[in-house]
């Protein structure tokens, strides 16, 4: 009897434990919530930002709180290496039961979140403040609005995101190194691959400096070389990968040739590019708006100029943009919309640009204003102008896996560990499999 009772307790304990832990296995938050009030309530906002970026964001949120003191905004910055990792982190938090009212999602994660049906349809809110939204649409690049509709709609085609700031890719040139080498900086910001290589060879010969870093980041390295040669990782609607086309192979081989010619440091490890830039050991930093923070810290704003990525067939750049949304299970959707309207405002855009935001403001009026161009390298407006020829960074539902395949293949090629065509053919096959899933 005693033995039976003891076993019974053991079984009960196991069942209770299983029940408790299985109850944690819930959906990430696909329904429910409430409207709340537009100017009061608690809001949880999650965004991607390292320690430096968090300072700028916190200053922005303090401005919001001044205007809406009854909305308790709890903003959590998640430092992530890339947007795919950020999306994964947010998904994990949602699965763990964390309530998040607004998630800042970049292009790399928008399709993933939109497709899961966890974001609210913004149409009613847009309608209730149509004037405000129309004013915003009129001030952003038509391409940005178009991309948002094409690539970030909900499962029924509904609007679930409001696009925010974006980044394109450009090159930050060290004027001193170029001057020392006697290399002219392209006045209109445009140069070709051949001119780029000539400049690098002259810089190497005269100063010993490397021309540019050779990385394998999807947004920062792979896409710029592909798009300036008329290529991309996927076709226009992201339904088919195009990673092994002749343009892609040529781009990869060109990137590898920079390492072979000694114009780029060997890839594989880690070095402080900003320090090398300051010391004149590296002639070019690449990036969107984010290198500006480092350039300011290095006190090199006046010694740096922003030019377009060198071209083979024409100007090209990837573009990735932030977007804001309201989670379906938010209990304060009206307050969340108030916060989104604040983020859309010219005032917020200008303030964020001034204090060191690492994105190009969505509003063209802000991107061409002193808020964006002051204390920034000459030519910074080229980042905004690149929107005219930019390609949205292809981000299929299996974004993180696709990114790994793309970056791994590129890293193999630029490190000289694999022949370009063969490596990209293998990556293409993996991408086709992912799209088919």
């Amino acid at each position: 009897m005693r033995k039976t009772r003891r076993s019974g307790w053991k079984v009960a304990a196991a069942v209770i434990t299983a029940g408790i832990v299985l109850s944690g296995c819930s959906a990430g938050g696909g329904g429910g919530g409430g409207e709340g009030e537009p100017d009061s309530g608690d809001l949880n906002f999650v965004y991607m930002g390292d320690a430096d970026q968090q300072k700028a964001f916190n200053a922005l949120f303090a401005e919001f709180n001044k205007k809406y003191p009854d909305i308790k905004l709890k903003a959590v910055g998640i430092p992530s290496g890339n947007w795919a990792t950020f999306s994964t982190t947010v998904a994990t938090r949602l699965a763990g039961g964390q309530k998040i009212d607004i998630i800042q999602v970049a292009t790399e994660g928008q399709r993933l979140f939109a497709s899961k049906g966890i974001l609210a349809d913004l149409a009613p809110y847009i309608e209730q403040d149509q004037d405000v939204v129309d004013g915003y649409w009129d001030d952003i690049s038509p391409n940005l609005k178009k991309f948002n509709e094409e690539f970030a709609a909900g499962p029924e085609g509904e609007t679930v995101f409001i696009p925010g700031g974006f980044n394109t890719m450009a090159m930050y040139l060290n004027k001193d190194v170029f001057a020392q080498a006697g290399v002219a900086i392209p006045e209109d910001g445009n140069w070709t691959w051949d001119e780029f290589v000539s400049a690098g060879q002259q810089i190497k010969e005269k100063t010993g400096a490397y021309l540019v870093g050779a990385g394998s980041g999807y947004f920062a390295d792979v896409m710029p070389w592909l798009t300036t040669n008329g290529g991309s990782t996927f076709n226009e609607d992201w339904s088919e990968p195009t990673y092994n086309t002749s343009q892609a192979v040529e781009s990869a081989e060109f990137a590898r040739s920079l390492v072979e010619m000694g114009l780029a440091p060997k890839p594989g490890g880690q070095f402080d590019a900003n320090t090398a830039f300051k010391q004149g050991k590296l002639a070019i930093l690449t990036g969107g708006r984010w290198p500006v923070l480092g350039v300011r810290e290095l006190d090199m704003v006046d010694k740096t100029v922003v030019v377009n990525w060198p071209t083979k067939t024409g100007n090209g750049s990837p573009v990735g943009w932030d977007a804001w949304n309201i989670a379906k299970n938010s209990d304060n959707k009206q307050a969340a919309w108030t916060f989104i309207k604040f983020l859309m405002s010219e005032e917020a855009g200008s303030y964020f640009a001034e204090i060191g935001g690492t994105i190009v403001p969505a509003r063209e009026s802000v991107a061409s204003s002193a808020a964006f161009t002051d204390n920034a390298p000459e030519g910074s407006t080229r980042l905004s102008e690149a929107m005219d020829f930019a390609t949205p960074i292809p981000s299929i539902d299996q974004g993180a896996e696709a990114q790994k395949v793309i970056e791994e293949a590129w890293a193999t090629i630029i490190a000289g560990q694999g022949e370009a065509q063969k490596t990209l053919d293998a990556a293409q096959a993996q991408l086709e499999k992912l799209v088919g899933e």
Partner: protein, 307 residues
């Protein structure tokens, strides 16, 4: 001869006293039990249940029976991943045991107390640094262009391999970094084990004319075998679950040459959003570790000297 019957005298309140004693015992162990339930037993049960589901963390899970296990046995990447993991674990065990033992023997023989203490701290210190810092540090040190190793060796005409970009070198580099970071722990265990070797046995062997090597091989090593057995088990369990340096330095590359089983589990669960399959992989890890540990316990009869 009369037998004495011992009669149990039931004191009043004895049952209540026994229950109170038992309750006190349960209360004392309850914090540890709670931690065990929440962080070990609970997740374990959860993982078993999850392995029978298809779940992407964002939508409702779906019961799929044994589909995840069927996929496990037909996964073309899994054999390579398991091979990487076993290679790492085996190399880790060998290098940790050998170097840990050698360092312990060396430090144990140091006459100066001050130098001995300094050596212990210096050898153990890397173990205290977080994996994130260690991985980033070595990524800078071994950078093929700007890293210290490359720069100093280039000065004498030696070109180093591209450790993190070359599939042939990436895993050896990770093994080395892991050794640098964690040998201090094995060293401390070995040092503690050396203290248990009775000095009179060593003296007796020396008196009988045994050489240093003979003393080491026939006296010290056998008496150290329980310690080495413990170190082997702990090292294997830790090495089989290696993740941090790989996630930070190589992300499983180049060309999957450093993708280990936990890295693979992470990719499946948190990048492919296939938590069910990741749970199945986790159960496989559990079974492998348990199986190897059992084999080690069976094998101990052959080589572990029980005094």
């Amino acid at each position: 001869m009369s037998s004495t019957t011992i009669t149990r005298v039931r004191r009043p309140g004895a049952a209540l006293q026994r229950r109170r004693t038992a309750l006190a015992g349960w209360l004392f162990v309850s914090p540890a039990m709670l931690l065990f339930l929440v962080f070990v037993a609970g997740p374990f049960v959860f993982a078993i249940a999850l392995a029978f589901l298809k779940w992407d963390m964002l939508t409702t899970p779906e019961f799929v029976g044994i589909q995840n296990f069927a996929t496990l046995f037909s996964d073309p990447i899994l054999p390579q991943v398991l091979l990487n993991t076993f290679v790492f674990a085996f190399a880790s065990i060998v290098t940790h045991l050998v170097l840990g033992l050698l360092l312990a023997l060396a430090v144990n023989r140091v006459a100066s107390r001050a130098i001995g203490y300094f050596a212990r701290v210096a050898i153990f210190f890397p173990f205290l640094i977080s994996w994130a810092a260690v991985a980033l540090l070595w990524k800078y040190v071994l950078d093929p262009t700007f890293g210290y190793v490359a720069q100093y060796l280039a000065g004498i005409g030696i070109e180093i391999p591209n450790f993190f970009a070359d599939p042939a070198w990436a895993m050896p580099a990770i093994i080395f970094i892991d050794l640098w970071h964690t040998v201090g722990f094995t060293f401390i265990i070995m040092l503690a084990g050396l203290q248990t070797v009775p000095s009179e046995l060593v003296e007796a062997a020396r008196t009988d004319g045994a050489t240093s090597w003979q003393i080491f091989w026939n006296v010290t090593l056998p008496l150290m075998s329980p310690t080495m057995f413990f170190a082997t088990i702990i090292t294997f369990i830790g090495a089989f679950q290696i993740f941090d340096p790989i996630q930070i330095i190589t992300r499983g590359g180049p060309q999957n040459s450093t993708t280990t089983i936990i890295m693979y589990l992470y990719e499946k669960g948190f990048q492919a959003f296939d938590m069910g399959y990741a749970a199945a992989v986790a159960l496989l890890v559990f079974l492998i570790i348990m199986g190897v540990t059992v084999l080690q316990f069976i094998g101990r009869r052959k080589w572990v000297h029980e005094s």
